[in-house]
């Protein structure tokens, strides 16, 4: 099969080219400037933080703000490593379980003939539109009846059935998993579980890699509200937010903390997207 580039080649007018790059450049700058600002501020010494008129970029970068973090955090009763472990553990476990649950359900929604699948899927989809805020009270009652308050389960169990993931996976399977391929697998004697593991999961890799990023990002930023009280069960963003509460004098340290918190989602981003892009080059060999 010929590579895509061989026949997908149209020329753009010169004005078109200029517009194209101007648009990409402006949109890119608009998106990324605030992140650059965070990084710059994290490296600013105190006098640059307070200078007037304010400067966007840092002139004399320093690690002061980062080095001040350990002393700000040492007063904690629980070591920082424990918060870090909690965040990594809960984010990874709930994300992986969510992907398996959501993609398995999506497979049934997209390709099965079971009764009620259309109605059930509509319920999943429309549940996304119900305001999460008003659900907090009934959810709290359920958590407390199940004795999930102040345990790790509170992070993991409710994250598994996120409707967004099942919705994304189902929409992706609709366009990417050909019925003919499943039919061929049936003829070869493959059951539903084998089709799921050997056909559906490999083909939908771009979708679940993307979902991995979405889910990890959401889970990583969780600050437990009224559902976790034990200090040793709290998350890293929770500790970092206590630094932000220190006001202007700690603005630099708060930004340093924010920058550190950004690192894991960025790593996950590159793992996820390099896998998404990689499937591009093999598309068509399916």
């Amino acid at each position: 099969m010929p590579k895509r580039q061989e026949y997908k080649r149209y020329t753009r007018s010169r004005a078109g080219n200029v517009l194209y790059f101007a648009f990409l450049f402006l949109a890119g700058a608009f998106s990324v400037l605030p992140m650059i600002y965070c990084v710059c501020t994290a490296f600013k010494p105190l006098d640059e933080l307070l200078v007037f008129p304010p400067r966007f970029f840092v002139r004399r970068p320093t690690f002061e703000n980062f080095l001040s973090l350990p002393s700000l955090l040492e007063a904690l009763r629980v070591p920082v490593s424990r918060y870090l472990f909690n965040s990594v553990f809960t984010s990874v476990v709930s994300t992986v379980l969510h992907i398996f649950a959501a993609s398995a359900a999506a497979f049934a929604f997209s390709k099965s003939k079971i009764k009620g699948r259309t109605v059930l899927f509509l319920i999943v989809q429309f549940s996304l539109l119900y305001n999460a805020y008003t659900l907090a009270v009934p959810q709290y009652l359920i958590f407390s009846n199940l004795h999930m308050i102040d345990t790790f389960w509170i992070y993991i169990l409710p994250a598994i059935p996120s409707s967004m993931g099942a919705f994304l996976m189902k929409q992706y399977m609709d366009i990417s998993v050909p019925d003919a391929l499943l039919e061929a697998a049936r003829i070869d004697g493959a059951g539903v579980f084998r089709m799921y593991a050997r056909i559906v999961l490999p083909i939908t890799k771009p979708a679940w890699m993307t979902l991995f990023l979405f889910s990890f990002r959401d889970m990583w930023s969780i600050i437990p509200g009224g559902t976790v009280f034990s200090e040793e069960l709290k998350t890293l963003p929770y500790v970092m937010s206590s630094i932000t509460a220190g006001g202007t004098a700690r603005a630099g340290s708060a930004m340093a903390a924010a920058v550190i918190l950004m690192i894991p989602p960025i790593i996950v981003y590159f793992i996820s997207q390099s896998n998404v892009m990689e499937t591009m080059s093999t598309a068509g060999i399916k």
Partner: protein, 301 residues
């Protein structure tokens, strides 16, 4: 014949296996989402302050929305403004950017995609907009305008009814693009290259034709996903508004349904009324969702 019925070899019927795949998700989904939604929707017919037992109130809460609450009608109008402007703009931008960068090689593409996804990766970094549009002369925009001689006094951006809505729309746009943008990128990996080839043979000569007749129809279900996520995001604008412009905002100029809702729930503990607001908001989004899928049906026709 024996081979065709081969999937029964495991002893399970295919439907049964599908139920097994579906059940973990569905069981937890009913427990943690459907049940709370039903409780909340039921609560909209009650008066409940979280202390006393709920008392039945009939349609009182719903009547109050438009006949006993000065802020709510304004909040509906503001929410619709957000939905009409940032929703479609963000949706189109998420598609156009994904489509534009799709023709670069993978390395360039992942760097460009990173730039556009950066807002989603920088956590709750919208406080940066607080610094930029800060009301004193330390704010970046004010200090820039003063130093350029464009103005003499700092503008209190978020308290100024002329500008605050526009600024918040920009912030919302900046926040909301990420999910549908990356979903579109994943979706585009999937358009069958044979379709482009066949299209070229069928006389497709411009990239616009290719976009309209091949790319868009092949991605319809991913576009629906993006649209639903946009509906959810723009109708639920609230926390950002409250953080930047405060609640209530000046003359309720930017108060939204959700910022009003959290005031009713968290500050005034009127949970029954808060539930009625949620039900109303849900109805607005559901109607929009149905309209949007009608529009998407026209793609490629």
């Amino acid at each position: 014949m024996k081979r065709i019925s081969g999937f029964r070899r495991s002893g399970l019927s295919e439907n049964f296996s599908f139920y097994v795949l579906l059940s973990p998700f569905l069981a937890l989904f009913f427990l943690f989402t459907v049940l709370p939604v039903l409780v909340s929707a039921g609560l909209s017919f009650f008066s409940y302050d979280m202390i006393k037992t709920p008392s039945f109130a009939g349609f009182d809460n719903f009547l109050r929305l438009f006949a006993g609450d000065e802020v709510f009608p304004k909040a509906v109008v503001n929410t619709l403004k957000f939905a009409v402007v940032t929703g479609p703009v963000s949706f189109l931008l998420a598609f156009l950017l994904a489509w534009f960068i799709n023709e670069f090689n993978p390395a360039v593409r992942s760097v460009l995609a990173f730039l556009f996804y950066a807002p989603a990766l920088s956590g709750s970094a919208f406080f940066i907009w607080q610094t930029a549009f800060s009301g004193d002369s330390y704010g970046y925009v004010n200090s820039f305008m003063i130093s350029m001689g464009l103005s003499t006094d700092p503008v209190n951006w978020f308290r100024n009814v002329q500008y605050n809505m526009a600024i918040l729309m920009v912030v919302q746009l900046w926040i909301s693009m990420g999910i549908s943008f990356l979903a579109n990128i994943a979706g585009m990996q999937n358009v069958n290259p044979e379709l482009y080839e066949a299209g070229a043979l069928d006389g497709i000569r411009t990239r616009w034709h290719e976009l309209w007749y091949i790319t868009l129809p092949s991605m319809k279900s991913i576009l629906l996903f993006g649209a639903v996520m946009q509906i959810q995001a723009t109708f639920s604008v609230g926390a950002v508004v409250t953080q930047l412009a405060g609640y209530p905002s000046v003359n309720n100029s930017v108060d939204t349904i959700v910022s009003h809702l959290s005031d009713v729930g968290t500050v005034r503990y009127e949970m029954g009324y808060a539930a009625a607001i949620s039900v109303f908001l849900f109805a607005m989004m559901a109607i929009t969702r149905v309209l949007v899928s009608k529009i998407l049906d026209y793609l490629g026709k």
